[in-house]
Amino acid sequence: MSSLETPLHKVEGLGSAHSGVKHFWRQRVSAVALIPLTVWFAISALGLVGAHEASVLYFLADPLNAVLMGTFVLISLYHMALGLQEVILDYVPHEGFKLILMVLNHGFAFMVAAACVVALLRIAL
């Protein structure tokens, strides 16, 4: 069957949503990155169960731990924003409400990210 796509549309490879595989690809790459980071986080969190503040500060004052914790938090929030975006687009048909939720989704991600980075800097510096 001959395609109804214009040659330009075919070359651009962006499909009907005009964004191509960008969202899909970013979600998968962040997912793969989160596998080792989550394992590291789980081992670290279990190691700090019941610990006093001083032990937590000592753990996070190690630059390697601080960087890994920051990476885990930031990539998690990135992956979260991509995932919640998919959920919003699937379930919210109303354009205005959809727009508000999309803005809130990214606003939430940036705010939690900023809060975690500030906390980590206060501990690690």
């Binding site: 596998i35 169960v49 998690s76 809060a115 501990i123």
Partner: protein, 138 residues
């Protein structure tokens, strides 16, 4: 249409969630999405933990006491299980992206494995903590 409303209502409709037998793959799919949304709330727990640690011993002790309470432990168990499930079932999704595991029986088995393994990991983590095997970074 000649049908009265009562007749329309008594006719079998297309499968509805309430009477549809849930295939494993359907359950794993929606639970993956639900744990994903729940983990968005989980990011607040991690943020709270980091902020508490940065805010001094009193704030951290307060966080610790809430985490140790019954409600805190329930929330934490939910968080740990959701994280474990989303990661393990996420690996299953990544395998599908590479074209593996699509056979119905395989998809059912890996789905049950996702539930079982995530529950085992969550229970195992809490068992280690309660047996005093956690806290090795103190």
């Amino acid at each position: 249409m000649a049908d009265t409303p009562q007749k329309v209502a008594s006719r079998p409709l297309s499968p509805h969630l309430g009477i549809y037998r849930w295939p494993v793959t359907m359950a794993t799919s929606i639970v993956h999405r639900m744990t994903g949304v729940a983990l968005a709330g989980g990011t607040l727990l991690v943020a709270w933990w980091l902020i508490a640690a940065a805010s001094g011993p009193e704030a951290y002790d307060f966080f610790n006491s809430l985490a140790a309470s019954l409600l805190g432990q329930l929330v934490l168990f939910g968080f740990v299980w959701a994280l474990a499930y989303h990661m393990i079932n996420g690996i299953r999704h990544l395998a599908w992206d590479f074209g593996y595991g699509f056979a119905l029986k395989t998809a059912d088995r890996t789905g049950i494995l996702s539930f079982a393994l995530s529950l085992l990991l969550a229970v195992g983590a809490f068992a280690l903590a309660y047996l005093g095997k956690g806290g090795y970074y103190q």
